[in-house]
Symmetry: D2
Subunit: 140 residues, 4 copies
């Protein structure tokens, strides 16, 4: 039986600043929400992503796909469930499920997927540090 | 020979507010750039998108895909080339090419695609007004 | 002895999306942080600000002042202490202290003040509902 | 007679991404608009602000005041009139008038003022390069 990919769940409220005149959360703001999710997962698997940048390794998004199923509204309690789908020597793939939480019930608002490449400060692709690879894979 | 889908090109400078601590334009900010592109194309084909909303018809993004090829920097001159790929009775598909302009030369930074559905203020899918359909298709 | 004005404290982490290429949180992003603070205080004193908008009463910012003392960084734990300084029939004044939290220690990053006016959906100034006034003042 | 402080005017359209569910431009988004204004004025007086950062001198906002008189809407043609009010050895003060342009007519939407301090990459206050001071003052 294959091991489960590492996953985590984070919750926060949709901000007024994130709405648009359609009366819903502006579609681009789901990408920062995905980032909150993967930031949280990286912290749980290893350490803060800030520590990775302090070592000169940056994770840059090279591809993003978003599917919007229902709209989020101001003050909604949002849950982002993030999964680390793939770990490669020079990059990672995360998927996301974005939900609205109403007490016990949840409603799926969006699903997303991002590919990230590891680069140095100059933008050159570099290998993920072995210790980071191990931490990311250890939970797989 | 099939007619060319309608396309247009708009230019602006990348804002400091759009950068992140990687020293480049934050990846989510390409979605508002796509929106600037399609806003401009809609205005050229028909009228302002604001007029469409004034009639109670909203275009909501249901799917977005972005591929990042090179990074944009603060103060770069950005060109968004937008194409109206498909016109359906209840939605439209746009594609985008995002370029950096350096005098005569250009560099491709990103490509994107968004699907939009036409809805009323309550979120129910509705048909695009015939006059809008005609304007969108008339140029195809 | 004059009663203490109502105050509350909310914490969250600074987002990567909120940084700029100076490597710090972009200065405009403190205004949404203030909004998170007053949203929280309104909820504690009365109900969700969303309920106020549902009644057709909106609070629009008419004046904002920000003083930046030290910079916030990505992933900092931020605390916003919000105080409802004044309640008038057609508006309210909030002040904010924005701090970084490091374990037991805190560092003051910024102070801010916003004046808000109560308007209807058409933008006309209106009185705050008596029940809201009472809730806002009841704690004073 | 005192010389006129240097001023410039820049125009652009309000973006959909900048609206909120009040149906107007979100108040925090006026700060990036001010930044567009001073970026443009710096370029006219000297060179791109990016060149200043390339020399290791950054201009960080230490104080911002905004007064909102009327609301901006999506697709409004916005004009920012920026004035360099003060040039000091370690900082500058800009003021802004933000207008909506309707053909020949204009409507004042907001006024703002920002104080900026010149710092190095480590955050230490530094003197503005003499050549920059001269360019900023030469037009006064």
């Amino acid at each position: 039986m294959p091991p489960q990919p590492p996953t985590c769940s984070v919750e926060f409220r949709a901000r007024y600043a994130e709405t648009d005149q359609m009366g819903i959360i502006y579609h681009a703001n789901y990408l920062p929400w995905c980032e909150i999710g993967r930031t949280d997962l990286i912290r749980r698997l290893w350490r803060s992503y800030a520590d990775l940048e302090a070592r000169g390794v940056l994770l840059a998004v090279t591809e993003a796909t978003l599917r919007y199923h229902a709209s989020a509204k101001y003050d909604d309690l949002i849950r982002v469930v993030t999964t680390l789908e793939q770990v490669r020597s020079r990059g990672v793939v995360f998927t996301y499920e974005i939900l609205r939480v109403d007490g016990e019930a949840t409603k799926r608002l969006a699903t997303a997927r991002t590919e990230l490449i590891s680069i140095d400060r100059g933008g050159t692709p570099v290998r993920l540090p072995p210790e980071v690879m191990a931490a990311f894979r250890g939970s797989e």
